[in-house]
Symmetry: C2
Subunit: 345 residues, 2 copies
DNA sequence: TTGAAAGCGTTACCAG
DNA sequence: CTGGTAACGCTTTCAA
């Protein structure tokens, strides 16, 4: 039998109301009884019932604030779909969401957005933001005030965030290298590497993983060029065009960022005379099309939908189960290798 | 505002009890009022509240019966983990599960198990079973009696099952071929193909997809041998050993089934002098180890955990939301290509 | 500081 | 065939 508040009340010789208040950390309970109740709850293995809770406090919903730098960035579409799916699933359990979208990675914008969310009464946060001293402080403050913060897609280590939900970027790079080793079959790789934004730690990690794995696998390679695409189509196209012009020997391209991919595609199409092996990251519409057309050979994807869905699920769990040992384990999504066949039919 | 039973009752001029009975299809309601209520529910966009429902009818839980041919088959471990995860997640919403495990694919065993589940009061079913006339009839009978049936991993088309949850086997084969094309780089493939059980339609589909895609991609290949591994380690090992002995030119192995993989591994280790490209299916412990050791190059995985989790989720949704347009769309899991790097660290 | 009770949405039971 | 009411587990308000 599952143990309820009533059972606890009986066992403690107090009323249900008191037990509820104690467990929810309301301050109108004497610390003596409160301690006793908490201890008993612990030892009897009490787990709050979501149904009862949702039903009772549905005017006092669990409000989750979400902030994404998603304006003009198709990468976030799947994350948003996942967030919405979680909302649909849990709204009758009292979940409510406020989504604030911003353009780009400006710290002040993001801090302001978070302040707005707090203003609007949010008690938990799912954020995709930038690693900056002020942001770290902000995250720690929220956490210390009992408001859990989940970081989506871009981790900020050494903060008191609840957990990180996103990919293992280093491994993503390793896997790209692993695929290349299978396909290179001993030939020497002449590499063009396209980096993304400086603020995004993940892009750097991908390249590190990529190169270290090429070394570990003893693949023969030479880095012809490393260019900064700035997550921008035009910049990426120009950089890639210049690289191909300067080094026609380039036979392999690793694009460590998802944005700017249509620029890379354009550059490759313009230089289609010599075949090049191309590995890209992250699944957006343009990338899919380029894979379908044989311009890109592999994409290493990162289950964006899951990232959105799981971050909300985790926070909702956190709010709805309160006063229970909460999992602070990161949710690391799979690195999915996709080829043309994945997108056909 | 969300519309509740009370709202419907007021709008219809009847009591909540009557509305509840009508919507749940109890026969003690006059068809006139019942129709009126249903229509109104429709037009007012009524959606039953899971919390209320779970709370009220928790003595009359939604009992789901599961039958898997999982005894002595490690493939089902992940499916079972997924089922258990769904149970943990939904038990406080009234979900209860009865799992019956069987060894092998005998129709009579399976029919008996299903009868047992019905006996025990199950009102919905998640089954992994075999395509047989009597089984088809059994599934149709259950469905017609208002008990939804989800088929896991092995579809039985042309039945009135609620939906199928599992992989696209044909595509899985295509993807194996697509990977091979990238790696073959123009060399001719001398193929050994290992089939699994005859009862499992999926294994055949994989081979069909595999070969048709090799053709479509104009990969040069020759089928040296096709052997039946019977999903058995010993049989698979012996068949593979004989094939390698008869045709040392074999440079590529496609194993279209997940079971018996350790037999294949043994055969390859015993013939390690010449390197062969090996593609396997499904992720079990042994396969992971063989990939880690470089015996197998790729595995095409099928998200088994998700299959277990989603089939239960779907059925629970179905029971808990009753009298609502229910999604009958199949849940097709991803074909995930995994290489050594996926299993390291 | 605590207890008692109302209320959330639903179903089941008991009368009528 | 239908209405009224208790019950499920929980939070919150009102009294004491």
């Amino acid at each position: 039998m599952t143990v309820t508040l009533k059972d606890l009340a009986k066992a403690c010789g107090v009323s249900v109301g008191t037990v509820s208040r104690a467990l929810n950390g309301k301050k109108e309970v004497s610390s003596a009884t409160s301690d006793k109740i908490k201890q008993l709850a612990q030892s009897m293995g009490y787990v709050p019932n979501r149904a009862g809770r949702a039903l009772s406090s549905q005017r006092n919903l669990s409000l989750i604030g979400v902030m994404l730098p998603s304006i003009n960035s198709p990468f976030f579409d799947d994350i948003k779909r996942g967030i919405n799916a979680a909302y649909q699933e849990f709204k009758d359990l009292g979940l409510e969401i406020v989504l604030l979208e911003r353009e780009g990675w400006n710290v002040d914008d993001h801090l302001q957005a978070i302040a707005d969310l707090k203003e609007r009464g949010c008690r938990a946060f799912a954020l995709c933001t930038v690693n900056d001293p002020r942001m770290r402080e902000c995250i720690n403050n929220l956490s210390d005030a009992g408001m859990p913060v989940v970081l989506i897609n871009n981790d900020i280590p050494d903060t008191r965030r609840l957990c990180f939900v996103g990919p293992d970027y280093y491994k993503s790079g390793q896997i790209a290298a692993g695929m290349l080793e299978k396909c290179a079959q001993g030939r020497e790789l002449r590499l063009l590497i396209v980096m993304g934004l400086k603020v995004h730690e993940g892009h750097k990690l991908r390249v590190q993983g990529f190169l270290s794995e090429l070394d570990a696998k003893r693949v023969k390679y030479r880095i012809e060029q490393i260019v900064e695409g700035m997550d921008n189509d035009i910049v990426t196209q120009q950089s890639a065009m210049q690289a191909f012009a300067a080094c026609p020997e380039i036979n392999c391209v690793y694009m460590a960022t998802g944005s700017g991919v249509s620029g890379l595609g354009a550059a490759i199409i313009a230089n289609r005379d010599s075949h090049r092996f191309v590995i890209a990251c992250d699944e957006i519409y343009t990338t899919r099309e380029l894979v379908k057309n044989g311009i890109i050979d592999f994409v290493i994807c990162q289950q964006s939908y899951m990232q959105g869905y799981q971050s909300i699920k985790r926070l909702h769990e956190c709010l709805v189960r309160q006063h229970l040992p909460i999992s602070t384990a990161d949710y690391i999504v799979d690195c999915q290798i996709k080829i043309k066949n994945h997108f056909e039919r």
